[in-house]
């Protein structure tokens, strides 16, 4: 039952796991997500599907250790089982018919951007990839991105990897150099997506973002994942997670994402103490 077949630390705070889940692997498409529970009484958390292998029946997830649940998840090892693993949820990313796309990944969001870049590449689409991290220790999937893109730009906040600067700096440079894209696909922290959208709006380039708000069921049953998109309320779990970035109300999404911050901080500290104790 949902056995962890492989576990690999991609950097000190980001982990990759390959999960045995044949029915989900059979149906998964890039852009979709799963919801998992680590243990009985655990919280339900959504994670985007980073990769899948239909033959072997595996689904890959990549997560950053940010709260109590991801902390607990990171304490499981190869051979351990997850309590629950449900998916594939959400609408797959639209990749058909695109000729030239700029894929942008920020931090662990790169893990979600990568399968989309790969799929586009397989479809014969020209891919420019821009990925940004805080520093060189946090860089993930560099080789993978390189292998599926015609142009690859690595950015870091402190200049220790690739160029110093933000992903928006790199994007602006490409756009100013006259690059024309059918679409920009941006996946990363809300603030990053907000500023990418601000920039591409100025340049009139269609931009798709992947939203990952607080969720419970992931099937449209609670409405906790709702966002304002073009003045309408949408449920990220069933209407998304991909949306037209120029229509998303990012300021609202940023506030809503912070709703339980204090609680999460407290639970995380408790969990850390728990694991230090053993």
């Amino acid at each position: 039952m949902y056995t962890i077949l492989k576990k690999q630390a991609l950097n000190p705070t980001v982990t990759l796991m390959e999960i045995d889940a044949p029915p989900i692997a059979k149906k998964a498409e890039p852009g979709q997500f799963i919801i998992l529970r680590v243990d009985e009484d655990g919280e339900r958390i959504p994670l985007t599907i980073a990769d899948f292998d239909r033959q072997r029946g595996t689904v890959t997830i990549i997560f950053q250790i940010v709260g109590a649940t991801t902390e607990r998840l990171n304490h499981l090892n190869q051979g351990d089982c997850l309590q629950d693993f449900v998916g594939p949820l959400g609408v797959p990313s639209h990749t058909e018919g695109l000729q030239k796309v700029c894929v942008i990944g920020g931090g662990v969001g790169s893990a979600i951007a990568y399968p989309i870049a790969k799929k586009l590449h397989q479809n014969g689409c020209q891919v420019h990839a821009i990925v940004g991290f805080r520093n060189k220790d946090l860089v993930i999937l560099e080789e993978e991105f390189r292998s599926v893109s015609q142009r690859f730009l690595l950015m870091s906040d402190d200049g220790t990897a690739g160029e110093k600067g933000l992903v928006t700096d790199a994007l602006k440079k490409l756009l100013d150099a006259g690059e024309q894209y059918d679409e920009v696909i941006a996946i990363g922290p809300l603030v990053m997506m907000k500023f990418v959208c601000k920039l591409t709006k100025e340049y009139g380039v269609k931009t798709v973002v992947s939203m990952n708000p607080i969720m419970i069921d992931g099937t449209g049953m609670c409405g906790g994942c709702r966002l304002s998109v073009g003045g309408q309320t949408k449920f990220a779990c069933v209407d998304g997670p991909d949306f037209d970035g120029h229509l998303v109300d990012f300021d609202e999404a940023i506030q809503r994402a912070a709703m339980y911050k204090a609680f999460e901080q407290q639970r995380r500290e408790e969990t850390c103490k728990l694991f230090e104790g053993v």
Binding site: K27, E43, Q83, G87, G220, G224, V238, Q255, R256, F263
Partner: protein, 464 residues
């Protein structure tokens, strides 16, 4: 001689000021003496009007006569011939508009407490039954059920009793539907739902949780896998919002989210991993059972003030009478004939207040209820830091959008034959909230039962 008391035997309950701080069951259940005394109020009418008020036609006078003489095993046998979830229905059915409404004793005085007696017998059985039900002989045929709510569970149970190999596919990590994610512990302890589900498993029903049909599997694939007939009991889980300004502020919940966090995700426990807002002042919008449950949960989480904001009057409140009474006793403040117009927040987008407008009742509308009309200029502010919206739910579009040829109506409800549950797709049957829109446990059960019978006939005819 029947007991001619005009009043029902009172239900022993936890004191209001105590219970509104815990999540333990409110109603404690009759003792044997109370039950036998109440049973003696039944006149055992020849024409059995109460049976006509029961959606699953339980032989009510017959089971009550057995209680009267203390033969509880026989009483349970009679109950379980018609209902598969008596411990649940005894607790949550709106008896006052069903069986008890038809009771002759209700003409002068209170009707016989049929619901309480049903619960008494079911609880007695749970405590005393030694063996799980025996697994029936297999007939070698397979049926699939989508959704493990009352409709799906009942359908699965009835098919299993006929020897079918039944698999239930449930989207959530736990079976029970609204019984586990919606109705709170203090009204329906989850152990009771679990025991009913264990009984189904003993009958050989397989329950696959974490299976969202329409996503991981389609109905067409279920047929490819050898299931000969499929029942859809996927409920009406999609929450409706009011479409007023401020609904996306932090501190605004759908009742489904609020109750799911508390019940399914156990946020009522201090050490829960699931966060929930512990608000000081809470407004719950709506007047049904869902609104009552949300309000009483909010109170139990420590809110000082909890309002029910409902646009009609007390008379039109659709909730079970007992729930309304319990809520009032627990200190819930009913602001009737009020309708929210917008929700206001601070800079961090936290809810600070809700603006409401006063209503009055006009002429009856199509539903026969008097239509609420806003009084212009009567807006006022209710100071709250949390708003819970309990104005109804619709069926989830997931199945209709992934199943070719499955007819639905303009509200998104699956179109199904009232008697058999047959849908526009051959071999596919449906029932419960997915067909009717949000209704009741007993109606969902009744639909599951009727469909099981029709599915059996369909599968037999197909084999012949």
């Amino acid at each position: 001689m029947p007991n001619m008391s005009l009043k029902k035997n009172e239900m022993p309950v936890q004191a209001p000021e105590e219970r509104n701080r815990n999540f333990d069951e409110v109603a404690l259940g009759y003792t044997l003496e109370q039950a036998m005394d109440e049973a003696a109020r039944c006149l055992n009418c020849k024409h059995k009007p109460c049976v006509g008020g029961c959606p699953v036609a339980i032989d009510i006078p017959a089971f009550i006569q057995e209680i009267k003489v203390g033969n509880l095993a026989k009483a349970y046998e009679i109950l379980s011939a018609s209902t598969s979830l008596p411990a649940v229905c005894g607790r949550v059915c709106p008896q006052e508009t069903q069986c008890e409404q038809k009771c002759v004793r209700g003409i002068k005085g209170e009707p016989v407490a049929i619901g309480r007696l049903e619960r008494f017998v079911a609880d007695w059985h749970m405590q005393n039954a030694k063996e799980p039900p025996a697994k029936p002989a297999a007939n070698g045929h397979k049926a699939a059920v989508i959704g493990a709510g009352p409709a799906g569970l009942t359908c699965a149970g009835d098919l299993a009793k006929k020897g079918y190999q039944v698999t239930i596919f449930e989207a959530l990590h736990l079976a029970g539907g609204v019984l586990v994610y919606g109705i709170p512990q203090f009204r329906l302890p989850k152990e009771i739902v679990r025991k009913e589900i264990d009984n189904l498993k003993a009958l050989g029903v397989e329950i696959q949780t974490n299976m969202v049909v329409g996503k991981v599997l389609t109905i067409d694939e279920l047929f490819e896998q050898g299931f000969e007939s499929v029942f859809i009991g996927s409920g009406a889980g999609l929450p409706n919002f009011m479409r007023i300004p401020g609904e996306n502020l932090k501190g605004v919940y759908s009742a489904n989210e609020f109750l799911t966090r508390i019940n399914l995700m156990k946020a009522y426990k201090a050490d829960s991993q699931t966060p929930i807002l512990h608000a000081k002042n809470v407004a719950v919008v709506g007047g049904g059972n869902v609104a009552m449950d949300a309000a009483r949960c909010a109170k139990r989480l420590g809110a000082e003030k909890v309002y029910i904001v409902y646009r009609r009057s007390l008379e039109e409140l659709p909730a079970r009478k007992e729930e309304v009474e319990h809520a009032m006793e627990e200190g819930i403040d009913f602001r009737l004939l009020n309708n929210p117009t917008r929700i206001l927040g601070d800079e961090q987008m936290n809810v600070r207040s809700m603006e409401c407008i006063q209503m009055e009742l006009g002429e009856p509308d199509a539903s026969g209820r008097r239509r609420p009309i806003a009084k212009p200029g009567s807006e006022f502010q209710l100071d709250v830091d949390c708003v819970i919206i309990a104005i109804g739910t619709s069926p989830n579009p997931l199945l209709r959008s992934t199943t070719k040829g499955l007819e639905t109506n303009k509200w998104g409800c699956i179109v199904a034959d009232e008697k058999t549950g047959a849908t526009s797709r051959e071999g596919v049957f449906a029932g419960g909230d997915a067909v009717t829109g949000a209704a009741t446990v007993i109606l969902a059960m009744g639909a599951g039962k009727a469909a099981a019978k029709a599915m059996d006939e369909y599968m037999q005819a197909k084999r012949a």
